[in-house]
């Protein structure tokens, strides 16, 4: 297909635009200018990613050579439907959360830090988009660390409200760095046995290689990415980091950061190693067990949390369990369900964390006490929270139902060592746990009375409410219009799984 002039650099633009815009934001005066700048940049980036997805949808995967250097030597950006979808998610979340951030950030962080805040936010966005876009394994590491380092700083900026943000950021830094270093070790081992860093080239070189070096490399990479995506035994950094970060950051990170890592895991497990790799089955079985453990363990912990932000953070870990479960099926349907949930969970969690952010702004706390009788005090926020909470549980007509339905459908068609019916029942059971903790929140908001003598509070500002409700409406919209999520995700899953060895399950 002929590409319109000027658009041949489209694959690089979503990464380059925020990267160039970030230092500019640092030069601005504290106030609304950096916010406006970051918002405009995020919208421009969103337009780029939409065009990119459209182009990939109509004319197939794009290979973009950075600086014109050809594939095995130069760094290439390889865009297929899977990463175009993830990039769209990141840019879309940024374009909703950045406008939302204004009032919330002014209340939660030091005024002098506002330009630095938006700079770090843009850098974080660059890193996440870069991880998704690049087709070079070492480039992945660099972008991973770009996004992680800015995230540590962003989490620590919550220290003005609660100093525990500092220790949370520090722990995140230690765990995140260990994860990234594990990834580099694994990459070194793979490079040692293949001599290439290009992800697609790696797949070709790894075919028919079966030795301990490659297996060790695989284990290191999976563990490293597992740390970054908060796979269950490696999730300890996540709850406090999400809990004490500024509200806008919680919303942005919960909706994007771990999702990009899920994509990376998919890319490694299926595109780079593929089913020819005999060790893969071990990993998929591990994902199955860890996914189910995560679904239950994190949900049960979430039920007993008294801080709503922390509850939602644990819920995120549980949702990652669903995504891992989808990966572990090793089928097109399973991976598609995983990708659909990546997208849908982004929508739900962004809405929920933004709702909590509105409460934090007006009541100064995300503790359960603050939510008592909220439906009377802040009806817009409360109903936004209720509807997106129902989406998290998986009630039709919300996107949560689509996710669960696709996952269960995929589960029925697989033959893992746990019987499919049991897997489906477990998914249902953990959804009930979600119903318990969301129900607890709804109970507090609707049925409990506000504390005696509580002064009247105003609703959250329009910008925040608009962003929240945009996400809530998206939660319903994508139930009725599944062509973006379900169709794209199925095609993307096929492009991930169907490699040179043809399509098919691991079993």
């Amino acid at each position: 297909m002929s590409i319109a002039p000027g658009l041949e650099h489209l694959p690089a633009l979503p990464v380059v635009i925020p990267m160039i815009a970030a230092p500019v934001a640092l030069l601005m005066r504290p106030g609304t200018t950096p916010w406006l700048w970051a918002s405009i940049v995020s919208w421009v980036t969103l337009i780029c990613t939409i065009m990119l997805l459209d182009q990939v949808w109509h004319s197939g995967p794009i290979v973009y050579e950075m600086g014109g250097w050809a594939a095995p030597l130069g760094i290439t950006y390889y865009i297929d439907l899977a990463n175009a979808l993830v990039m769209l998610l990141v840019a879309a979340m940024a374009s909703v959360v950045f406008p939302y951030a204004r009032t919330s950030v002014e209340a939660e962080i030091d005024r002098r830090q506002i330009p630095a805040f938006y700079t770090a936010l843009l850098i974080c966005m660059t890193g996440l988009l870069g991880v998704a876009a690049t087709g070079d394994a070492f480039n992945v590491f660099v972008f991973l660390e770009i996004s992680s380092l800015s995230t540590y700083a962003l989490v620590a900026m919550g220290a003005r409200k609660d100093r525990r943000a500092l220790t949370a950021a520090f722990n995140y830094l230690i765990m995140g760095t260990i994860g990234a270093t594990f990834y580099v070790i694994g990459l070194g081992l793979l490079y040692q046995s293949t001599g290439t860093l290009n992800l697609l080239d790696l797949h070709e070189q790894l075919a028919n290689q079966e030795n301990k070096v490659v297996e060790a490399g695989f284990a290191f990479i999976v563990t490293g990415i597992g740390l970054k995506l908060a796979m269950v035994p490696l999730h300890l950094w996540l709850p406090n980091a999400y809990c004490f970060a500024p509200s806008a950051i919680s919303a942005f990170l919960a909706a994007t950061a771990t999702k990009v890592q899920i994509y990376l895991m998919l890319r490694y497990v299926f595109t780079v190693f593929g089913f020819e790799f005999p060790f893969l089955e071990v990993a998929l079985n591990a994902f199955l067990i860890l996914g189910i453990t995560g679904m239950f363990y994190a949900s049960i912990v979430a039920v007993f949390r008294d801080n709503v932000k922390q509850m939602l953070a644990y819920s995120s870990i549980a949702q990652i369990g669903y995504m891992l479960l989808g990966i572990s099926f090793g089928t097109v349907d399973g991976v598609a369900a995983s990708l659909i949930h990546v997208f849908n969970h982004g929508l739900m969690k962004a809405a929920l964390f933004m709702g909590v952010g509105c409460v934090v702004l007006r009541l100064g706390s995300s503790h359960f006490h603050a939510f008592k009788g909220l439906a009377k005090r802040m009806p817009w926020t409360a109903w936004g929270l209720i509807l997106s909470g129902l989406s998290l549980v998986g009630v039709p007509p919300t996107v949560g139902f689509i996710s669960k339905f696709q996952l269960m459908e995929a589960a029925f068609q697989t033959s893992t060592f746990i019987s499919p019916l049991l897997v489906v029942l477990l998914i249902g059971a953990s959804s009930l746990l979600a119903a318990v903790y969301i129900g607890r929140l709804i109970y507090a908001m609707v049925l409990e009375q506000p504390p005696e003598g509580a002064e009247k509070i105003t609703e959250a500002p329009y910008t925040m409410r608009a962003a929240l409700w945009l996400m809530v409406i998206a939660n319903f919209y994508f139930f009725f219009h599944t062509d973006l999520t379900v169709d794209v995700a199925h095609q993307a899953a096929e492009s991930l799984i169907c490699t040179s060895a043809g399509c098919g399950g691991a079993y």
């Binding site: 660390e145 500092l166 070194g188």
Partner: protein
């Protein structure tokens, strides 16, 4: 068995450092010590990458003998050259100078590596001129375009011939080598300059290096690890900055005390002895 391990002592160092680093991170008591542990852990990875890149008996991946002072004049003349002709002659001069120098110096030496180096350097310098000339090619009138196209196809043949014959001639006497190299270099220059295929001649230079059997270590892991070092430094900086902020906010950077403070903030009462035991 012991020999097997001793032969791989570098991996042993990597693993030992890795374990020491991780142990310090996990058994930490002090935040700064944790960061130091993290640094040791990362250092083990740096050494691992250096180990990957090292080729036994290979030198540092720096081009041997290239870009010496011998042909500096040629460079200077052509750098801001205006026309194709001027570049052409200047480049030739550069090559001739170099070869003459080589003949004088190496006539008596039997070691074949050094001529190879200089040969390679000569070709390097030739290709270097070509790179400059290439930019001026756009000024060449239209008539040149046709002949350039024809020569472009020839250039590929010439290059492959050049490298093949070079490896043959390397064992001959240096003077003979120099003569053949001169003609090859000229042919190479003409072909490449006319077609503007500067990259091709650069590869020929690399091929000449191989012909001389100079063993280089793999530069790529070194480049990668330079990047990783930068990332590591950035991580350390952020970590230490956080430690400073924690010291300001809590008055301590001891993990146990921090945990006790956070526990108090979370549950409203300090950790009791029963809760710990």
């Amino acid at each position: 068995m012991i020999e097997f391990i001793l032969d791989r002592y570098n991996y042993l160092i990597v693993i030992t450092l890795m374990m020491i680093g991780l142990y310090i991170v996990f058994s930490r008591g002090n935040l700064v010590k944790t960061i130091i542990g993290l640094n040791i852990f990362q250092t083990s990875v740096f050494i691992f990458y250096i180990t990957i890149g090292k080729v036994a008996g290979g030198t540092a991946p720096i081009l041997m003998g290239g870009y010496g002072g011998g042909h500096g004049d040629g460079h200077g003349d052509t750098y801001h050259g205006n026309g194709h002709d001027k570049d052409h002659s200047a480049a030739h001069d550069g090559v001739h100078d170099k070869l003459a120098y080589e003949q004088g110096v190496d006539a008596g030496t039997a070691d074949s590596i050094y001529p190879a180096n200089d040969l390679e350097a000569a070709i390097r310098s030739a290709s270097d001129q070509v790179l400059k000339a290439e930019s001026d090619l756009h000024n060449v009138p239209e008539e040149f375009a046709d002949s350039a196209n024809q020569l472009a196809s020839d250039a590929g043949l010439i290059e492959s011939d050049t490298t093949n014959q070079m490896s043959d001639t390397l064992h001959d006497a240096p003077s003979e080598l120099a003569r053949s190299a001169e003609s090859h270099a000229n042919a190479l220059y003409d072909g490449a300059a006319s077609s503007g295929e500067a990259h091709g001649s650069a590869y020929a230079g690399d091929a000449a290096a191989y012909a001389g059997e100079i063993l280089y270590s793999n530069p790529l892991p070194h480049v990668l690890i330079l990047t990783a070092i930068v990332v590591g430094v950035a991580t350390t900086a952020v970590g230490l900055a956080l430690a400073v902020r924690i010291q300001e906010a809590y008055g301590t950077i001891e993990e146990d005390e921090l945990e006790a403070e956070d526990y108090k903030a979370e549950f409203g009462h300090p950790i009791t002895e029963e809760a710990v035991g």
